[in-house]
């Protein structure tokens, strides 16, 4: 597990994750939701930005199955699936996709967000809807 470095814009996100909660940045002016957190809205440039709980569900937008980890931290885990998921609130997020055969990954696959653990700290992943 490689730990995030964090910065002033995203520290709140990582602190909440350590408490088991997944947040997204939210624009008070136009309603956009996104990650990674920024001090400005990437759609309307408003500074009325807060953090709100992420939508608990989403759909698979793209995916890969990684056979060569590149970083030794993950070598023992290959092959592993990583998805790019469009949450129901519009934010997109990368994450491990667990509980699905790799050859059953497909466009639009409904997924739910779960907070599990990676190493010694909380981490998000995606699973199929129960």
């Amino acid at each position: 597990m490689i730990s995030p470095a964090g910065d002033a814009d995203s520290d709140a996100f990582w602190s909440a994750l350590d408490e088991g909660r997944l947040l997204v940045a939210a624009c008070g002016a136009c309603g956009k939701r996104w990650l990674p957190p920024l001090a400005t809205c990437p759609r309307c440039a408003s500074r009325d930005v807060t953090s709100v709980p992420a939508a608990p569900r989403g759909a698979l937008y793209s995916w890969t199955v990684i056979h060569l980890a590149a970083d030794p931290a993950y070598t023992a885990e290959v092959p592993y699936a990583v998805g790019l998921v469009q949450l129901d609130d519009g934010a997109r997020l990368y994450g491990r996709v667990l509980g699905v055969d790799h050859d059953e990954l497909r466009d639009g696959l409904p997924l739910v967000v779960r907070i599990g653990r990676a190493g010694d700290r909380p981490a998000w992943h995606f699973e199929p809807e129960p």
């Binding site: 470095a5 890969t64 060569l68 990583v82 790799h102």
Partner: protein, 386 residues
């Protein structure tokens, strides 16, 4: 939304006048500056110039994996520089740098500019696994996306989903380019390749198998940019800049691997800059005789062919399979080696000068070149001097 513009005045008045390479190896055992200086000296000599005639140097590097322009000016004993430029960029840089150099010579800020890329990209800092600083990597590394091939595989998958193409269409790119590489003695990979061999190759990050990925090497490549009137007195036929464009789309992200703000991963910068590129050159896509398309991975060739209007949406795999146009005649970064796209520009120059050996496309007068893979990039239309 990229705004259309009038034709920039450096087009039609500036030219590429020389190219230079080092050997491409797995472990050079040499400094990056040594490699850079060799490629630049060769390019300058190729143009029929001496380092004393060069007064501009430009380059790019990714996370400090190379040397600044001033170091090369020093190593080559350039008596004085009027124009130096260092960019912290990746594959989107080569055509962009040539454009900047052309602007400088057109405006009289410099007479002859050498543009280079040098890296110990295999034995030293490897571009694909260097970790960019900033918050976006925090959203990739902890989930196991730790290399460029991982990020771009998500683009490739979405592209295949959206266009109804398959991994065999990716394979067609690798097979076609390796056929060119067989004729290129500089190419790192020269053995024949086939669809069967491709299907049997191990995956790196699905849908990419090993031969879908560029071959990382140590080496350097350089080109010389001059004003067209001066170029006509030099050693090689001038290769004229007729079209140029750069585009970065909305949501270009926080670093070079960040795609979380990019809406449609099945389309890259090529579809954004195509109108400006062809418009600035005053030609249609079908008028291109050769295309040298940035190919860190096979998918970027398909995406580029479609984005630039050379092939129809969903038709790039067939376009390549049926050899509709000579594409990546050096074997590309897939087979010649990963000099980060500077060699893609140099191959276009060699083609239009008729100096690409048996690879030379007979009668070619116009060549398209692109630089970049994802959210931003640059491109040139080059032509013989008429």
């Amino acid at each position: 939304m990229v705004r259309p513009r009038r034709r920039p005045p450096f087009l039609g008045t500036t030219a590429l006048t020389g190219v230079g390479y080092t050997e491409l190896t797995k472990a050079s055992g040499r400094s990056v500056l040594d490699l850079a200086a060799e490629a630049c000296a060769r390019a300058i000599a190729d143009a029929g110039l001496s380092p004393a005639a060069v007064d501009g140097v430009a380059s790019f590097r990714f996370l400090e994996d190379s040397v600044p322009a001033q170091a090369v000016a020093t190593a080559l004993g350039v008596p004085g520089s009027n124009w130096l430029l260092d960019l912290n960029l990746g594959g989107q840089a080569p055509c962009y740098l040539v454009t900047q150099a052309a602007m400088a010579v057109h405006l009289g800020l410099a007479r002859h500019v050498v543009v280079f890329r040098a890296l110990n990209g295999r034995s030293g800092a490897r571009v694909g696994t260097n970790r960019a600083p900033g918050p976006a990597t925090d959203f990739r590394y902890p989930v196991g996306l730790t290399a460029y091939v991982h990020y771009i595989s998500l683009w490739a998958r979405r592209f295949l989903v959206e266009t109804g193409q398959s991994e065999d269409d990716l394979a067609a790119v690798a097979v076609a380019q390796r056929r060119w590489a067989e004729q290129n003695e500089r190419a790192y990979l020269r053995a024949p390749h086939s669809l069967d061999a491709h299907r049997a190759a191990p995956y790196v990050a699905e849908p990419f198998r090993v031969p879908d990925c560029t071959i990382e090497v140590d080496g350097a490549c350089a080109v010389v940019v001059s004003a067209l009137d001066a170029a006509r007195d030099l050693a090689q036929p001038p290769v004229v800049l007729q079209g140029a464009a750069y585009a970065a789309g909305a949501g270009a992200g926080l670093d070079m691997g960040d795609s979380l703000f990019w809406e449609d991963l099945s389309r890259n910068y090529t579809s954004l800059l195509a109108p400006d590129l062809w418009g600035s050159a005053g030609i249609a896509p079908a008028d291109a005789d050769v295309a040298e398309i940035y190919d860190c991975f096979t998918s970027t060739v398909l995406m580029g062919l479609e984005g630039l209007g050379l092939a129809e949406r969903g038709g790039a795999g067939d376009f390549v399979r049926h050899g509709k146009l000579p594409v990546n005649t050096h074997g590309g970064l897939l087979a010649e080696g990963y000099l980060h796209g500077m060699n893609t520009v140099a191959e276009a120059v060699l083609q239009l000068q008729g100096r690409a050996g048996t690879r030379t496309v007979t009668g070619a007068e116009t060549c398209l070149v692109t630089s970049g893979a994802l959210v931003d990039g640059s491109a040139l239309v080059l032509a013989v001097d008429r």
